[in-house]
């Protein structure tokens, strides 16, 4: 299990090199900054200390619940220009169902329970904080 919280870009290829050795199925999810409506960047604030603890606890919960061989979570904070990866989760399991479900579960959790807050930056500067979506909260009830 590996959890990384960092401002700098991550090298997905390097992080996944050897990930899930012995497993039959590896699923990754990568979230990127979308340039909707002239968005220039996202500023992502987080709660140092709690972030790492919460990510590790939920990565472990996913590993236990879905019988994962391995799990990886990396999430950036700070100033992230449009097009850049924000975060990635990777799950490794014997079979595809567990790997898919664990990644899906982790993402639903991350969206509304990991202590990150996004602020939109337009061409003229900060626009406002991204509001939590009711859909994201509802998605958690599936698990």
């Amino acid at each position: 299990m590996r959890v990384l919280v960092q401002p700098q870009p991550f090298d997905a290829g390097a992080l996944l090199d050897g990930f899930g050795a012995g497993a039959g199925a590896v699923v990754t999810f990568t979230g990127l900054v979308r340039g909707d409506g002239g968005l220039v960047a996202l500023d992502i604030e987080h709660y140092p200390g709690m972030t790492e603890r919460a990510l590790a606890a939920h990565a472990q919960a996913a590993a236990d619940r879905f019988g994962l061989d391995d799990v990886l979570v990396v999430h950036r904070h700070g100033h992230l220009p449009v097009g850049e990866p924000i975060m990635m989760v990777a799950t490794a399991a014997r079979h595809r169902r567990a790997a898919f479900d664990a990644a899906d579960f982790l993402m639903d959790w991350l969206k509304s329970r990991a202590p990150f807050w996004k602020r939109e930056i337009g061409p003229d500067g900060p626009r406002g904080w991204v509001e939590a979506k009711a859909d994201d909260e509802a998605a958690l009830d599936r698990w």
Binding site: Y47, M50, S112, F116
Partner: protein
């Protein structure tokens, strides 16, 4: 007891500071919120709509009913938007 109270995102902006030291005898998170909101306009504004506020006690998500006995660090923030 003395608590470190942390604020994130727009709560931090409305309060005007990322953290403060608070001396309190509040028994629960809810009681602490009431004390803080009574301090000044900034606190009152930041904590006026609790449906938009989440709380963590010693870095674990908590409720308004969560007891503060033994707590060191309380954080208030909007609903999270990670991922």
């Amino acid at each position: 007891m003395t608590l470190d109270v942390l604020y994130f995102a727009w709560l931090r902006e409305r309060i005007g500071a990322p953290r403060e030291r608070v001396e309190t005898n509040a028994a629960t998170v809810g009681a602490l919120v009431a004390e803080l909101a009574a301090r000044d306009d900034r606190h009152a504004a930041a904590l006026s709509d609790l449906s938009a506020v989440r709380v963590a006690v010693d870095q674990d998500l908590a409720d308004w009913d969560t007891p503060l006995a033994g707590a060191r660090e309380i954080a208030f923030f909007p609903p999270m938007t990670g991922g």
